[in-house]
Structures are given as structure tokens and as C-alpha cells.
Symmetry: C2
Subunit: 219 residues, 2 copies
DNA sequence: TCCGGGGTCAACCTTTTGATTGACCCGCAC
DNA sequence: GTGCGGGTCAATCAAAAGGTTGACCCCGGA
């Protein structure tokens, strides 16, 4: 039987080397290619498909130093004709990342501190078409069901993240390519969902519920 | 000549495997042991010294899921009789732990996205007794010397903490038993010291410099 | 097909925040 | 005792943020 062909996407050479070494310990699996950034990853997927030697699964980090980020790359890959499953493998377990990644079409969400067997199993399960979630992620999602989720939209979360960096509405508008009026509209919605009435309280609430992460904060 | 003996300390199996594979590519260097957390690292150093087979250098991550963190572990190791050099190898360059790590006696500070040769060179330099800093870290430290610490007063920090919970000036005033005018005065001072011009940015700056801690944030 | 939600924008008005100036009290170091 | 920094307060004006209403577009599901 042919080996499972994996594409590694991570901006850290150390992590790529680690995954490569880790996967090498298992039978029937091999690293087809590596990419240090989203755009390169997309091109690799396309290139190998063109060559008739497609990757079976993509292991994708979310945080990328520069270049296209993991969520964007995932959604691009998922828009291909015959997209491979994309397994997110990242360091953090915040809502912002998870929701965006799942919406972008990711087949799973694993944390980097997972033991080798778990990562291997996740890869196999992803190829089988299953959705795999790290236990901590699963628990987090369960908790969210019991605790009526605020249900912020991706756009709102994106805005919230800019908000937390201390930008005024005007700058947020520029960065998001929308008008200040729209920023205000989003803010009103966010305040309503979070049950607050000012930006500072919104950041506090969102941080507490792990919807966003703030500077200097550990996973 | 005897191999350089390295101790790897990182809570992520993936990263440990990566470093191991990466170092294996170089001559004259070998991984003597691994630890997933600070206390285990300290014990490994002691154990190998006792066996008369001491490690020559420690590669230490700062962020540790649970157990003793990297800074604490470093200072413990440095209190041994014949401490090996400790090279910090971490993900963030915004981390306020940089200063703490250097104070704890770290011989260097590298980022995980560094290419293999750089990491190898850093290890060699650390053993030679040199201090090695990633270019980005060096630049950051320089900036911090030029821009000395803000030196907020206790009262200002207290206010900042209330600020971070999302309270408006009026409520902060009540909780601190002062007038709203005084709250504003304090805020102006805080903004000046932190180099910002609004409350949200003040929280972001104070959080990043670990002046305050926000909800949901780990120590 | 119609409806609803997400996303966008504008006008308007109120409230809050930010910036400036000036003032007073207190304790402590010089 | 004089000066200085921390802490307190007030008045005032300008700027930003918050709240409301109403509107348009697009898309996907009932």
C-alpha cells in the first residue's frame, strides 16, 4: 500500500524537523513536502496535484511569521477541486483560532504539545474523513455549548482583536478596509453579545471567555 | 574529541524531536537528555553531574504547559556548583521574560524560527562562555535601554487594574474613593508613561510589559 | 421566491474620554 | 525650610466613543 503523503506547513524549521522525525517513526507515512508559509503551501498542494502525485493530508500551523496565515491558506486549499484534508496543528486553543479554522474547512484541530501517537492517529482519522479534535479543544467546545455561546462572527472577532491592541475606531476601520461607521456598528453588536457597553469591558469579557488572546498571554 | 552534550527542555514533543533531528545534522554534538518541564530539567542536570557525565549546555524553552517554568528552572540551574550554560530557545520576542531570563543567568536568547546553523552556532558560542542574542532580541533590548521602564506608581497600577476590568472613569473613581477628575489626572500620567493615548492602548501596553495581568491570563 | 443574517454605510445626538491649566495638601529628602 | 513628587480636585474645551434609526447588498436556506 502506498504511503500517506503529508505536507508540513510551519514557519519554524525546528517544528518542521520535529514533525518529520516524529512521523518517520510510523509505518506507511511520509512527508511529501514542506512549506514555511501559507502561499507556498497552497502552491505545493497545486504543484503536486498537477504532477499526479497529490498530498493526502496537510498539517498546518496557524501562526505564521510572515506570508499568508494558516486560516487563509486553509480556505484557499479547500477551494481547490479535490482538496486534501487540512489538519490544524497549533499552539493555542482560543476561540478566535478554532472557529476561523473550522469555518475555513479544517478537518481537525490538534495542539502541538500532543504526543506523537495522537498526532499520528489524527492524521489517519483526517484522511478517513473524520473530524479530529484535541481533547482540550473538544472540552472547550462542550463547555461552550453549556455556556450559551456569545456567537460572535469571524468579522467581529477580527475587530475585537484589533480593538485589544488599543487602536481607535479610525485605525481599525483602515486596517479592516471598512468605514468608521461600520466599525461602530460591529462594536454595538459585539457589546450586545458580550453584555457590556464599552470597548474596554468588551476586551475584558472576550479575554476571559478566551475568545481572543491578548499580548503577553500564555496558552 | 568528545561530543558536546545537550539537554533539551521543552514541553512540546514535536519541538524536542525537531531539535534532536536538527542537531543530529551537525558533527560533534549529541543530545544527552530531554525534559518536558523545568523541575525535570534541573534533576537531569544534577543526575548527569552526579554520574560524572555532565551536560555541556541546556537548551531551554520558557513557556511550559505545566510544571516549573523556564526562568525559574534557569535560575535554579545557575545556582548549582558548576552550572552549564543555559541557552533560552523560545517562540516570542515580545516576551517580558527576556529580561527575567537574562537576570536568571541565561547565556543567550534565541528564537525558534531561527535556521539550524544559527542554533548550532549559538550552542557553540554559549559553551565558549559567550552571550548570544538573536538579532531581533538584541534590537529589543537596545530599545528598552533607550526607553527606560515606565515606573508607574502603586496608585497608578491600582487604577490600571480596575481599568482593565472595563470600568468607566465614574466607577473607577467610586471604587478608589476619589473624584472622576483625579481618575483623569492619573490616566493622563499613565498614558504619558506608557506612551499611549487611550485607555485601551494603555491596557495593551501594560499587559504586554507585565505590569498588570488580565482575566484568563496565566502567570 | 421570499426571508434572514452578515456585512456595509450614513446621519444624528448623547455620553464619555482625553488634554490642558491651575491649584492644594502631604511627606520626605536635601 | 525649601523643593519635589505623589496624590487630590476643578473647569473647560476638543475629540472619540456610544446609541439609534434606517438603509442597501449579497448569499444561502426554508
Amino acid at each position: 500500500m502506498k504511503d500517506i503523503r503529508v505536507l508540513l506547513v510551519d514557519d519554524h524549521p525546528v517544528v518542521r524537523a520535529g514533525l518529520r522525525a516524529m512521523l518517520a517513526a510510523f509505518e506507511g507515512i511520509s512527508v511529501a513536502a514542506e512549506a514555511s508559509e501559507g502561499e507556498a503551501a497552497l502552491n505545493e498542494v497545486k504543484r503536486l496535484q498537477m504532477l499526479g502525485d497529490p498530498v493526502d493530508v496537510v498539517l498546518m500551523d496557524l501562526q505564521m511569521g510572515d506570508g499568508m496565515d494558516g486560516v487563509t491558506a486553509t480556505s484557499h486549499i479547500k477551494r481547490l477541486e479535490t482538496p486534501p484534508p487540512v489538519l490544524i496543528l497549533t499552539t493555542y486553543d482560543t476561540d478566535a483560532d478554532i472557529l476561523a479554522a473550522v469555518e475555513a474547512g479544517a478537518s481537525g484541530y490538534m495542539l502541538k504539545d500532543a504526543p506523537p501517537e495522537q498526532i499520528h492517529q489524527a492524521v489517519v482519522a483526517a484522511i478517513a474523513g473524520q473530524t479530529v479534535l484535541a481533547p482540550r479543544i473538544a472540552a472547550l467546545l462542550m463547555g461552550r455549548i453549556k455556556n450559551p455561546a456569545p456567537a460572535l462572527t469571524p468579522r467581529e472577532i477580527q475587530l475585537l482583536e484589533l480593538l485589544a491592541t488599543g487602536l481607535p475606531n479610525r485605525s481599525i476601520a483602515k486596517q479592516m478596509f471598512i468605514s468608521e461607521a461600520t466599525v461602530k456598528t460591529h462594536l454595538v453588536h459585539i457589546y450586545g453579545k458580550l453584555g457590556v457597553d464599552n470597548r474596554t469591558a468588551a476586551i475584558a469579557a472576550a479575554t476571559q471567555r478566551r475568545i481572543i488572546r491578548v499580548a503577553g498571554q500564555q496558552p
